[in-house]
Symmetry: C2
Subunit: 120 residues, 2 copies
DNA sequence: ATAATATATGAATAATTGTTCATATGTTTA
DNA sequence: TAAACATATGAACAATTATTCATATATTAT
């Protein structure tokens, strides 16, 4: 057996053909990175509750904080995460900032997820 | 101003009616928890790559490790996460364990996510 | 039975993340 | 202009997580 080749893992590749083909089909790194960021954004209960709330109604930061029984600061930090992944957008009106869902992709993903967890 | 009431947050609720209504519509805690777990499972690049690979072909652990240039142990740990959220299932054949996507919910969620990140 | 191999897993460690606290910014009202 | 208020944000801390390392389990081949 030839041990000169660099081993990529500590076991032997079993189906070289499949591995090579799938390697060719793998999406670019950047796309995977963005996708992971999106799901990371959805991976926290507080943020999911915020998104659910916004799917029902436009809301300002204080309302969300009251709804979830959390500090204004905590909510504000989480809203930034949701803004960064373009899951929510906002609109200022005086000193109040109203948040809404960015589009209905968000609702669709949310619903798919609920289907999965419900489908016991 | 009355300071005897317990403050749920450090700012004033602005739209009491909306907050109360949405509070009534909020899904049960357990459902939100499960949903967060699901998205947490999807929130890592390595796991997303594994899922993408499995959407193309059934694969054993060594193949996945080789495909991603990672250790067998790392992949095995990540596969456990994916099993726990029922995103993958497996089938033993001798000492080789073949993994596949659990169902096509997974593909659907994956695709929704890609749509969102592509939609610049 | 023994050796080789595929996979799983516990412990340890480094990196990431959610919340709090203190404070800053910007808008409105007095 | 000063005080009040809505929101944002940097730093700190605790909790969570991804990977590595060492090792265990189970199956196959010798």
């Amino acid at each position: 057996m030839n041990n000169n080749e660099p081993k990529m893992c500590d076991c032997t590749v079993i189906h070289v053909d499949v591995v090579e083909r799938v390697k060719g089909e793998m999406p670019e790194e950047k796309k995977m990175y963005d996708l992971a960021e999106l799901f990371k954004s959805l991976s926290d209960q507080t943020r999911l509750k915020i998104l659910f709330a916004l799917s029902k109604n436009e809301m300002c930061v204080c309302d969300i904080a009251a709804l979830l029984g959390m500090s204004q600061s905590a909510i504000s930090h989480q809203l930034r995460v949701l803004r960064n992944t373009r899951l929510v957008k906002y609109q200022k009106s005086g000193k109040v900032v109203y948040y809404t869902l960015d589009d209905n992709h968000v609702n669709a993903i949310f619903k798919q997820g609920l289907d999965h967890v419900a489908h016991k």
